[in-house]
């Protein structure tokens, strides 16, 4: 029986790849679109994004300066993200305020929940009531925590770079202030003195700087809910996006082809030969899976070559071959099940065609194939996670950026497998309830 299954699958795969229109649509078009994205954003550029939603929990009480004024470094950091409403105070941070949408939170737990729900990109916690005091004295470092969901591709890295830019700035000011007076006193006392005294003062200064630098007054700590941060690479994002989108289109075409076999009576003809129904379905499934695999592999190879030609230096899909292979297998499996379900739900080829176009577009939009989706409001935030596009794109992106190895995409692989199994079981159930295939 396996000969027949393979014959059916092979017939479908060769028919698809011999069809010039199909190849243009399913292979050439995604390559061209990826290349356009590559040209538009350069290799490794950024795309414009919606303001990143950030929560700031500021526990810093500040210190009272000899003049009676209060100095709070925590307050300054908070203002970088949360506008005070006073134009004079907000002006230096205008650029940051365009990029982010910061809110002061009293309750860190609530912010944590919202990150888990996908409503927030990150939580910045400015640590301890004596944050400023510690930072100035150098007795213990002041800490800034960033908590974020690495499922998001851009938001957290934006927040991270802003926070580190600000804390670095603060650190240099503090260092200069702390070291400055001491160094001047030493130098003053030794003016006109012998070279040995100057050398020893300089050595002391160097040692002090090193020790202070080693214990940076403000330490930035990032806590990732899942992994690590990364900077956004448009092409690394869009190449898998397009590949997966067009692979779901191909699955739609396969679903239509299943219905066409019935309308053209080729299915009925097969069933008059000594070939059982399940062998037919097995062959169709294998054909869909094989077509999807071939398409993904072609797209990975072709976009890599095109990116090379366009002058890209670092690899487009990453170097972890095993992780890439497993992601390809998993994402094609999920898409095959989707195609099968569409075939099971539609009565005619025309219906299958319509359903599959809608499914591919909606999944593409929700899953971030067109625009990287950072956050959907409230209850909708979990929607992208139901799509194979979401997990596939993120998985490939993580592997491509080298941030995640095989273990890092295990969640993605699992999610794709679950989506595939659920859709597969649903379509089997649906097929079993149909009077005819």
């Amino acid at each position: 029986m396996h000969h027949k299954i393979i014959a059916i699958a092979w017939k479908d795969i060769t028919t698809t790849f011999k069809d010039r229109d199909a190849v243009a649509y399913l292979v050439a078009l995604p390559i061209v679109l990826s290349a356009i994205v590559g040209l538009a954003f350069g290799t490794g550029g950024d795309v414009s994004i919606d303001p990143v939603p950030v929560a700031v929990v500021n526990q810093d009480q500040g210190v009272t300066l000899p003049g009676g004024e209060t100095l709070s470094l925590g307050e300054t950091l908070e203002r970088a993200f949360v506008p005070s409403g006073d134009p004079a105070q907000d002006e230096p941070f205008a650029a940051i305020h365009d990029l982010t949408d910061g809110t002061a939170y009293a309750d860190a737990d609530r912010a944590r929940e919202e990150i888990a729900d996908g409503d927030l990109a990150a939580l910045i916690t400015i640590g301890g009531a004596d944050f400023t005091a510690n930072a100035l004295s150098g007795d213990a470092p002041g800490t800034v925590d960033i908590l974020y969901d690495s499922g998001r591709s851009i938001g957290p890295s934006v927040v991270r770079s802003i926070v580190s830019a600000i804390t670095n700035g603060m650190n240099s000011v503090i260092l200069a202030q702390r070291l400055g007076p001491a160094a001047l006193a030493e130098i003053g006392a030794t003016v006109g003195a012998d070279e040995a005294a100057i050398a020893s003062a300089a050595a002391e200064l160097g040692a002090a700087a090193t020790s202070i630098a080693a214990a940076a007054p403000i330490r930035l700590e990032q806590v990732d809910l899942q992994g690590k941060t990364r900077s956004f690479d448009a092409l690394q994002y869009f190449a898998p996006s397009m590949a997966i989108l067009f692979m779901t289109f191909a699955m739609g075409a396969s679903a239509t082809a299943i219905r066409l076999e019935r309308e053209r009576w080729t299915l009925q003809r097969i069933l008059t030969t000594p070939t059982p129904r399940w062998a037919f379905m097995g062959g169709k499934l294998l054909g869909m899976y094989g077509t999807g695999l071939a398409q993904m592999i072609l797209l990975i190879v072709a976009t890599t070559l095109v990116a090379r030609l366009m002058g890209r230096q670092n690899s487009l899909w990453g170097t972890d071959g095993l992780a890439i292979a497993l992601l390809v297998l998993a994402v094609v499996f999920a898409a095959t099940s989707l195609g099968l379900l569409i075939a099971a739900l539609s009565r005619t080829a025309e219906q299958a065609n319509t359903y599959s176009s809608i499914a591919a577009l909606v999944l593409g939009m929700l899953g971030g194939s067109f625009v990287p989706i950072e956050n959907l409001p409230g209850v909708l935030s979990w929607l992208p996670k139901l799509t194979l596009n979401y997990w596939g794109i993120r998985g490939f992106y993580d592997v491509a950026t080298g941030e995640a190895a095989l273990a890092g995409v295990s969640t993605h692989l699992l999610a794709l497998a679950v989506i595939g199994v659920v859709l597969f079981v649903a379509s089997l159930w649906r097929f079993s309830r149909r009077q005819e295939l």
């Binding site: 027949k4 014959a7 009576w265 009925q268 003809r269 008059t272 030969t273 000594p274």
Partner: protein, 322 residues
């Protein structure tokens, strides 16, 4: 070949209702046998239940009543065994249009369980038999209607079936291709293949069959050899009148003449009307009068022996193509 008296297919109280309990009853309590070596035609108008019957015999549709025994195997219980014995040529062109004839044959050959050299040899023979060798590697979509029909038939022959089902294999093709197909059916039968042939063209049934079953509204209304069937019409004659541009009004007026049981347009031939009359010669003057009154011309008249069409007219009062 001369049919034997060994039944190879037995229909036993076969019935099919689509979407029960309220759906169409397409086939109703059909029982008959087809003998080994026979060409058996199922003759009936569109919608009579021919395709549904073939579908059930070939295991494609589950009967809602009765069973069919093919070569000793029950279709409902040993469907795979039955399918090894039969070759089915569906009414539709069940082909992959972008594949060539050779590729279509190869694919379906594999579905029949053929492979390797055996498959290659059979493909060669079938292409030869259907006279498609020259165009074997062109995609089917570039073929004429007649050529597609021949590929459609060829596929059903690949595995040398004992029984061949042909469901209206000559629909919508030119006379030359139709001729080829009818000759091919006779040639296959001469090699010993039993044929179940469905059609709504009485000429085809008449030319090919050893026996004919007439089916209407899902029921067999007459069955036997042509002689047996035409005898049921009794003494009635068929008047063949050649009247170009005959109007529907004329056809129905002719059908109402005294001593006339029905009037229909003949298949194929343009302007030929068939009038089934108790006595052809008596009805002729009235017929001529009606044609003159309608302002049309009668170009030829012929009184014929009763045909299968006359049998159908006699039994149903309708033509096969009404």
């Amino acid at each position: 070949m001369t049919p034997t008296t060994t039944p190879i297919i037995e229909l036993r109280g076969l019935g099919k209702q689509f979407n029960p309990p309220d759906g169409v009853i397409a086939v109703k309590d059909v029982s008959f046998s087809i003998m080994q070596g026979e060409i058996f035609s199922l003759l009936g108008p569109n919608g009579a239940g021919k395709t549904t019957t073939i579908g059930m015999i070939s295991g494609l549709l589950a009967p809602t009543a009765g069973d069919v025994i093919v070569g000793g195997h029950s279709v409902t219980r040993e469907s795979l065994a039955v399918r090894r014995l039969i070759g089915v040529v569906p009414q539709e062109l069940a082909l992959y249009p972008t594949l060539s004839a050779r590729q279509n044959l190869a694919f379906f050959g594999k579905m029949y369980g053929l492979g390797g050299r055996e498959l290659k040899r059979r493909i060669g023979e079938v292409l030869e038999f259907t006279e498609l060798t020259d165009r074997a590697d062109d995609p089917i979509e570039q073929y004429s209607g007649g050529m597609k029909r021949r590929v459609n038939i060829g596929i059903g022959l690949l595995h040398r079936p004992q029984v061949l089902f042909l469901d209206e294999p000559t629909v919508a093709i030119d006379p030359q291709s139709r001729r080829n197909i009818l000759d091919a059916v006779k040639a296959l039968n001469a090699e010993g293949i039993t044929v179940l042939y469905t059609t709504h063209y009485m000429e085809e049934a008449q030319e090919l069959s050893h026996r004919v079953g007439i089916i209407d509204h899902g029921q067999i209304i007459a069955l036997g050899t042509q002689d047996e069937l035409t005898r049921t019409v009794g003494e009635q004659d068929t008047l063949a009148l050649k009247v170009p541009d005959a109007t529907p009004e004329l056809v129905s007026a002719l059908g109402r003449l005294p001593g006339v049981s029905a009037c229909v347009r003949a298949d194929g031939e343009d302007g030929e009307l068939h009038v089934l009359a108790d006595e052809g010669r008596r009805a002729l003057p009235d017929a001529i009068r009606l044609i003159n009154e309608a302002g049309l011309s009668l170009q030829a008249v012929e009184v014929r022996e009763p045909t299968l069409e006359a049998v159908f007219l006699h039994l149903t009062g309708r033509g096969l193509r009404d």
